[in-house]
Symmetry: C2
Amino acid sequence: MQPLCDAVVAIVGLGLMGGSLALALREKNACKKIFGIAPNAATCAQVLSRGVVDEASSDLSLASDADIIVLATPVRTVLEQLPRVGEIARAGAIIMDLGSTKREIVRAMERLPAHVQPIGAHPLCGKETSGFDAAEANLYRDAVFVLTPLARTASQTLAFAESFATILGAHPIILDAARHDKIVAGISHLPFVLAATLMTTTNELARMDNLLFTLAASGFRDTSRLAASDTTMMLDILLTNSDNVADSIRTCTRHLTELADWIVDKDENALRAILESAAIPRRELFR
Amino acid sequence: MQPLCDAVVAIVGLGLMGGSLALALREKNACKKIFGIAPNAATCAQVLSRGVVDEASSDLSLASDADIIVLATPVRTVLEQLPRVGEIARAGAIIMDLGSTKREIVRAMERLPAHVQPIGAHPLCGKETSGFDAAEANLYRDAVFVLTPLARTASQTLAFAESFATILGAHPIILDAARHDKIVAGISHLPFVLAATLMTTTNELARMDNLLFTLAASGFRDTSRLAASDTTMMLDILLTNSDNVADSIRTCTRHLTELADWIVDKDENALRAILESAAIPRRELFR
């Protein structure tokens, strides 16, 4: 495997993640060439005219000349694209995805031809905005960049992926796909679910009092932010991590029910204990 | 009632809300004198030495010379302080609080001596930080400043309170205390409860996997932010708005259970519909 600076990188999907990756690689002059693949002809024209990519196409076959193919599409689109990418990829090509759940993707990667090198990845740097217009060259900086190698992933491929993450300013960390999916269910998917459900609940309350959203301040803004996330992307995440997400929702629901009971019973000691045990680690975590 | 510029303002409690009020009034040179009352002698010394207040004391009786007394303490402390404030306040003094729930405070205000003028207030500009060190002169700028007048509140008192809010750069809005409490249960107290419960749930998950918080990104940071709020302040809020808060938690819990079921059943149509109906108003609300 040649170093990244001599490699042709094909990015499939030029939304927030793929677009930001193209911008970062270009800004750092990190690779030989960047190919961009997006279904939308207007996006292809935009990235070409802005010089973000060297070639652009809505046809996956552009990736056949790439040394590394990065799939930056929603999880279930990655699952659909993988067999075709396996067909067209050159021998020795690295195939990496940026999907937010990893078990199903890693399973699909096992079925790729033996002459390609697959590795799963998940950079934790999402935003609630989407599309190339939301992309930014600094998106990956300081982000944790999870890598989920397969049994068949060569050590050189893993080392390449680690240096790829580091060049982007991110921090690579190697995890088993199952462990990754369990962790993100709590730390990433549950926050989205709570934000969306906060919106569902307040929408319902707002139908009874049209002044409700007038009183929304920064606390509501931040707690509800993730509800604005791209629906297709989130739907794919929830449906490919359904067991873990459902578990984390149910644990959360149990704690909410307990809290509501303590509030009704005015159980001040129980309330103070649970609120303090939530507040203290949160203050430690983000200073 | 003289204009604010000729008035002596006593602020009881010099934390985030009271401290920011003192800083704002001083910066705008908005009143004749500012008296600060705080239980902590160090805070009194600090605000005096920084010139934020003209006089400071840990004794409420300093407020007896004020034209307007602003109670900026946690809700149940306001409830405790009101009778004593009523005893010491001069005839014609305005007594205003900044508490986040209004029904119990307004009921306690009804019992104040006839020669004082009470009015409830709730500026929606909290933060998860607390204490005078977190105070800032701009805190009230652009905030919605709810006023909950009593039947006995004179129209001149209400007009004075409206101009007080406006001078701070805030937007006054007049609401019935019961309506206020119902609205904030959904738009303010529920977001806090969800943030705290997100911390409770993820703390539990982190005990099973010590890498969990390593993967926390901006989405988790924002959704959990309110969990760091001052516990005593939040406890007072939950316990003086228990009926409304419990209702909003239960509505939310119902929606969460429904969502978990759809995720397990892989009911894509139901999920897409609910997530879109959460995403669209959120994108409209904060652009």
